[in-house]
Symmetry: C2
Subunit: 196 residues, 2 copies
Amino acid sequence: MNYPGGIKKRQSPLQNNFVDYANRGMKLEDDLNITNNYYRDINKAVIYKKPTPIKITKVNFLSRSNVTIKEAFFDTPSTTDYNGIYKGKYIDFEAKETTSKTSFPLSNIHPHQLKHLEMIEEHGGIAFIIVKFTHLNKIYLLLEKDLKQFLNNTTRKSIPLSFFENNGYMIKEKFNPRIDYLEILDNIGGNNEEKN
Amino acid sequence: MNYPGGIKKRQSPLQNNFVDYANRGMKLEDDLNITNNYYRDINKAVIYKKPTPIKITKVNFLSRSNVTIKEAFFDTPSTTDYNGIYKGKYIDFEAKETTSKTSFPLSNIHPHQLKHLEMIEEHGGIAFIIVKFTHLNKIYLLLEKDLKQFLNNTTRKSIPLSFFENNGYMIKEKFNPRIDYLEILDNIGGNNEEKN
């Protein structure tokens, strides 16, 4: 939603003290959480963001109901951030933002996350990544099979924007749901030729 | 694995400093993690335990790669602990232990977790709970539809062992995989009459 003067108004129910307007890194995640809440509210799909993996090193244990974590660290995720079910199908994806205007750095995704997406595809799930080029305000969904095709044929350390334009599916931001990626999956259907 | 004198020998690769031999609460989780690792290793299924949800309240931020959590609390889970994909199907379950010899207290499972399992079933996934009666050394898999049947017809605050015996499926502990719950799902197949 763009307001006059380029001000972006946000009233996210998920917004908390850790997120501020300058924190671009959280915006896509917030919008996907709101989108997934919406999908659940209308009973369209059950898809959640997994909790952030954390390695706990010090705990203050007073009682079963009174436990405070006194020291912990962010852990490397072994899987992707989002998964769930849609129309009986297993859905699995990773979402990332980049400030680059020309390409998506592959360093943003861990190799075991790529391996995970590949396994999901092999096992009959729907696996993809959602990438937002924040400075272009463009969001693309790229299926794992297309991502793999790229990775198998290059030594590049980033995926050029043109690859997303030619092989991905652009997701237009809406009011509700904000990032309607399930509509993209509906449109793709079984017809892999039908690109946007 | 029962050794002479009733000693249980455990050599879990997941065992860490927080888990000791007396901590019965972790045993089922450990064994399920090892089972899921095994399923992934043989490429049978891709099922993970989700990270424990944590609410972070204080962070020491030195740099992007040097962040220490200084205070955090365990959060109420909004979904179940385990999900993934098996034979193209979405799998979702919660696992709990009880020291009771006669019934499983429903207070062990949050109402929104029960609601979550119900939604998964509605959306065409395979939803269930795994309950271990630790003092009886018996593990049961109970499908969501049978669990719902029980909940809809009672005001009881616990599920009697006999209900698991009559409506659930006993999982016999093995060496590898330790808790072969996918074998149970294979055996159930489409035939709901075939109980153990």
